[in-house]
């Protein structure tokens, strides 16, 4: 597969939200009074000023994959991110803030498609930022797992599970209550009250689903 086509596949995979091929429905929630203590969902999301460097392996459904370096910088007001080849070429660099929206600073074709940037920022927000909008319920789901369930005005649901095995998980459900994205952290280390996974796997479900395997290279808290 030619390079250009390969990245088009990746971009399309990152952008298109399709009906789930392997449908997983939203599990029922037992209300909060049945669990001991409140789930510490805040520990899943970095607070303050952070910088992460990951090795990111993109894999699309037909099995083709490529690996790049990913840089994510977080402050209270702004997210900066960059994708860099192993050989050092900056493929993409952008910043996002509520005030100014998305600012693309560098994007080498085919990464210059604005929808690619939106998809990338959406993944970053899912992994690193606590859901802010809507109603929050605390309780347990199947397997007695503690959960913080966020429901926004459009009916989308994000479950934050702060204690699964040795780390955490995030699951996002569309308004028809089917799983459309999941993030599974592994081998968490506690750093400045935040649980930092040594390894993350994001799966986007649907006809053009994709997987991001993110191995932590560096996490700095400033």
């Amino acid at each position: 597969m030619k390079l250009h086509n390969f990245y088009l596949v990746i971009i399309l995979s990152l952008l298109v939200a399709c009906a789930a091929e392997k449908q997983i429905d939203l599990p029922g929630l037992n209300p909060g009074q049945q669990i001991q203590g409140r789930p510490n969902c805040a520990a899943v999301f970095p607070q303050g000023k952070w910088q992460f460097v990951h090795s990111i392996n993109f894999t699309v459904k037909n099995g083709t994959s490529t690996t790049v370096l990913g840089v994510t910088s977080l402050t209270e007001k702004i997210i900066n991110c960059a994708l860099i080849t192993v050989e050092g070429l900056t493929l993409f660099e952008a910043a996002y803030s509520k005030e100014n929206g998305l600012e693309i600073r560098r994007a080498i074709p085919p990464f210059d498609n604005p929808r690619f940037a939106d998809g990338l920022m959406s993944d970053i927000q899912t992994i690193f930022l606590s859901p802010t909008a809507g109603d929050v319920q605390e309780g347990q789901i199947t397997g007695a797992l503690a959960v913080c369930r966020h429901t926004d005005d459009s009916g989308r649901i994000i479950d934050v599970l702060p204690e699964v095995d040795d780390c955490w998980q995030i699951k996002s459900y569309s308004s028809d209550m089917t799983l459309d994205r999941s993030v599974v952290g592994q081998s968490c280390r506690k750093k400045s009250s935040t649980l930092i996974p040594e390894y993350l796997e994001l799966n986007s479900y649907g006809q053009t689903g994709y997987t991001l395997k993110m191995t932590l290279i560096r996490a700095d808290n400033f």
């Binding site: 597969m1 030619k2 390079l3 250009h4 390969f6 990245y7 910088q51 460097v53 090795s55 392996n57 083709t64 994959s65 490529t66 690996t67 790049v68 370096l69 840089v71 910088s73 900066n80 991110c81 960059a82 860099i84 080849t85 192993v86 050989e87 050092g88 070429l89 900056t90 493929l91 660099e93 560098r106 080498i108 074709p109 395997k213 290279i217 560096r218 700095d220 400033f222």
Partner: protein, 197 residues
């Protein structure tokens, strides 16, 4: 695509024999092979600290190459007998990577041949200048490429035929520097090095 090709072109410039650099160096060395360790630093405005990578680079005429990163992402680009492949360590084993590099490297085969013939300044993509005896500056000929890579600075090593470092500037606050050491030139490299992962 062209910008990706440009990057690979620049990273392979140190393969060029010193004779290619015209007035920058008086002595000429005919290069048959080179092997060197390298340290790569990636600087970016948003990076609090540079990303440091290390690896091994080996080339043998006419068209055999091993470009291996050991950390932080183990990966190997291999080229031998016209076959080109890239592998990245994923889940503990080397998996073939269909991403960046392969198309560009095919183009590079022709470029390397030119350099080995001492035709560095024939390069269609760069204008070369020589600010001092140890430095070669390369600037893209086309404005479209200059927006991606503003300039390249090559520093010559004391050892004839070898570069000390390559710095590729993407902008005023973004650059990649590869520093080479332990370079060995013109010693036969076993072909297995260009085949084995």
């Amino acid at each position: 695509m062209k910008s990706l090709t440009l990057l690979f072109t620049t990273f392979l410039l140190f393969l060029a024999p010193i004779s290619s650099f015209g007035s920058a160096v008086q002595d000429q060395v005919h290069l048959h092979s080179i092997r060197a360790d390298f340290v790569q630093e990636k600087h970016l405005r948003i990076l609090a600290k540079p990303i440091v990578s290390t690896g091994i680079f080996a080339f043998q005429a006419p068209r055999s190459l091993r470009w291996e990163y050991l950390v932080p992402i183990p990966s190997i680009l291999l080229m031998h007998d016209g076959k080109l492949s890239k592998f990245v360590k994923t889940d503990g084993r080397f998996i073939e990577d269909q991403g960046i590099g392969l198309d560009a490297m095919q183009f590079m085969l022709g470029e390397i041949s030119n350099w080995l013939d001492g035709r560095f300044t024939d390069n269609e993509m760069f204008v070369a200048s020589f600010p001092d005896k140890q430095t070669i500056l390369l600037e893209p000929r086309e404005q479209s490429l200059a927006g991606l890579i503003s300039r390249i600075e090559l520093r010559l090593a004391d050892q004839k035929g070898v570069l000390n470092s390559i710095t590729i500037y993407e902008g005023s606050d973004s650059y990649t520097r590869m520093t080479f050491n332990n370079a060995v030139i013109n010693k036969i490299i076993p072909s297995a090095l260009f085949i084995q992962k």
